[in-house]
């Protein structure tokens, strides 16, 4: 005991004094009056139109194509004109607190997590959730920290679970399958059931949930496979031993064609962004930011070289480059909290449609988006209590249906 105490103190000596009092106080001033009664909300909405007139897309460019590969589907569906928000249901026995972490191509399936009450003396594990056309299913997955990462159009969910080790699971139609490999983290699954992620420090793919992992790239390559297209093209965020000290910091991007051929993908020559982390990938479109999320955030089409800077880091992208944007979900001083106009679906050509706030009990909550379906008709995320006054309901899983 004495030794452990001593070692913890030695480690704590590395800490700096994080002088955040001023910043915390400024943010608190902006938040005290945020919990709006319904009448206040209307005033805030009106104010936001002028205060938060944010440029939808920043700088853009189109370099020469940098890699061969599948282009985005040629004919995007009509861009949505309106959206409405509704709360996703919870299973019996769980409080409302819940988040969305992804969904399938069609909008039928959405995945996320539920949380036991903070007053539950047993501190049970988080609950992995699957919504099928709005009906919720609780997935029984072992582990203390269970993170549903992706789901395909057949309802097959891939999950990373941290318990006595880091383990990958596939859940499909009631069958839970542990993926082969030690220290597995999963990232994505396509509609063919091919799964990608990492095994230890190596990027990896699994042709199916029962297959052995295939390590990607040369033996020296470290990183994580972050996405897989329907034709089997895989994108890897490459790391080095140096960049792994900050797990979000990348050394580069690599693409693996369906035949296994690897291509390094350089950042476009005219780009004004750097690639430090990847937050989402789909059909050639990559969303990311600088190291540890430093701005500018970007939207980048790997095959065509088209790129745009984004006003904020996004967590999802469609095959047409449509990105759900959540500006200022937790406002700071000088920024007015107003759900309307601050959360929207954005297309690369600048079109946008508002994702409106919840109404009723959660009407004063800020919004955060995490998923968009291929056709943009379904967007999902969570509403967040900016006051933290409701620990069992400070996140509420939300779906927007658009048309």
């Amino acid at each position: 005991m004495t030794e452990l105490k001593s070692m913890l103190r030695e480690l704590a000596d590395e800490a700096k004094t994080y002088d955040v009092v001023d910043r915390a106080q400024r943010r608190a001033r902006g938040r005290r009056w945020l919990r709006p009664a319904a009448a206040c909300a209307a005033i805030l909405v009106a104010a936001a139109g002028t205060i938060l007139a944010v440029k939808a897309l920043g700088q853009s460019g189109t370099a020469a194509p940098v890699a061969d590969g599948p282009l985005s589907p040629a004919s995007p569906p009509p861009f949505p004109a309106t959206c409405t928000a509704s709360q996703l249901p919870m299973p019996p026995g769980l409080p409302p607190k819940s988040i969305v972490s992804g969904g399938d191509r069609t909008g039928r399936y959405i995945i996320g997590r539920g949380y036991p009450s903070i007053n539950d003396p047993n501190m049970p594990s988080y609950a992995a959730l699957l919504w099928d056309n709005g009906a919720v299913i609780r997935l029984e997955v072992p582990g203390a920290e269970v993170v549903p990462e992706d789901v395909n159009s057949s309802g097959q969910v891939v999950i990373t679970s941290v318990g006595s080790g880091t383990v990958g699971f596939s859940y499909h139609a009631g069958v839970l399958t542990q993926l082969a490999g030690d220290d597995v983290q999963v990232s994505a699954i396509n509609d063919q059931g091919e799964i990608v992620g990492s095994v230890g420090v190596r990027p990896a793919s699994w042709p199916s949930a029962t297959a052995q992992p295939r390590l990607l790239g040369p033996d020296t390559m470290q990183g994580t496979a972050v996405g897989i297209d329907e034709d089997g093209t895989i994108v890897v965020g490459v790391q080095t031993p140096a960049t792994r000290t900050k797990p979000s910091a990348l050394a580069g991007i690599a693409r693996f064609a369906p035949d296994g051929t690897m291509t390094e993908v350089p950042v476009p020559a005219d780009a004004t962004f750097s690639v430090g982390q990847i937050r989402s990938y789909d059909s050639g479109w990559l969303v990311g930011a600088g190291d540890t999320g430093a701005p500018p955030s970007f939207l980048w089409q790997l095959t065509s070289g088209e790129w745009h800077t984004l006003p904020v880091l996004a967590d999802a992208v469609s095959p047409f480059g449509w990105v759900p944007i959540s500006l200022n979900p937790i406002p700071t001083i000088g920024q007015s909290f107003s759900p309307t106009g601050t959360t929207y679906l954005l297309a690369p050509d600048g079109r946008r449609v508002d994702l409106p706030p919840m109404t009723g009990r959660y009407g004063g909550y800020a919004l955060l988006t995490a998923y968009v379906s291929d056709d943009g008709r379904t967007v999902a995320g969570q509403a967040i209590d900016p006051t933290y006054e409701s620990p069992d309901a400070d996140d509420i899983a939300v779906v927007w249906h658009c048309g």
């Binding site: 005991m1 480690l11 004094t17 994080y18 955040v20 540890t292 933290y388």
Partner: protein, 177 residues
């Protein structure tokens, strides 16, 4: 609230937070293992404390109240990946090791940091509460909002994992209280 009253409240918060900034920084660093993540965590916690300052100040033990917010924020916000930067083990030595340190001390820090990174946020919180903050099981349970029995079981599980992931640190095997 009048401007005068608001200013008094803000002064009270500032005095409280500034006096405890060093201690809270050390705890936040142990909980996250990363300077940026610790700074983010501490700032988020202090925002909540500032918003609720009237209630915090009126509590019998304001620091216990703050501690509960800190640990709740760590565990609940881990879901957003906000403080997870250091949850993957590091193969590197500290960025700026103290030149006065002996190599063995630096090595122990690296091993401990790596082992802590393999714990879940709740396991990590239990270790820091019990063995760094030196809280009793009852106080640790209050901070985490759980039962004493849960603290016991989580502590045992966390120590077991530390032994498994850092067998080089034989000292863990002596931790049996």
């Amino acid at each position: 609230m009048s401007a005068e009253r608001r200013a008094a409240v803000e002064d009270g918060f500032r005095e409280f937070a500034t006096a405890r900034l060093g201690a809270l920084s050390r705890t936040a660093y142990l909980l996250t293992g990363d300077h940026h993540a610790a700074e983010d965590l501490l700032q988020d916690v202090l925002v909540i404390v500032a918003v609720r300052w009237s209630r915090v100040a009126a509590a019998d033990n304001p620091m216990a109240y703050v501690r509960r917010i800190l640990y709740h924020e760590l565990v609940s916000s881990w879901r957003r990946g906000r403080y997870r930067r250091a949850e993957v083990s590091s193969d590197q030595l500290p960025e700026h090791p103290d030149p006065r340190d002996e190599t063995t001390t630096v090595d122990r820090r690296v091993l401990l940091r790596r082992a802590l990174a393999r714990l879940t946020p709740r396991q990590r919180a239990v270790i820091v509460l019990r063995f760094f903050e030196d809280l009793s099981e009852a106080d640790a349970a209050a901070a985490l909002g759980c039962s004493v029995g849960t603290v016991k079981s989580q502590t045992n599980y966390a120590l077991k994992r530390l032994r498994e992931t850092a067998p080089e640190l034989a000292e863990f095997s002596e931790v049996t209280r």
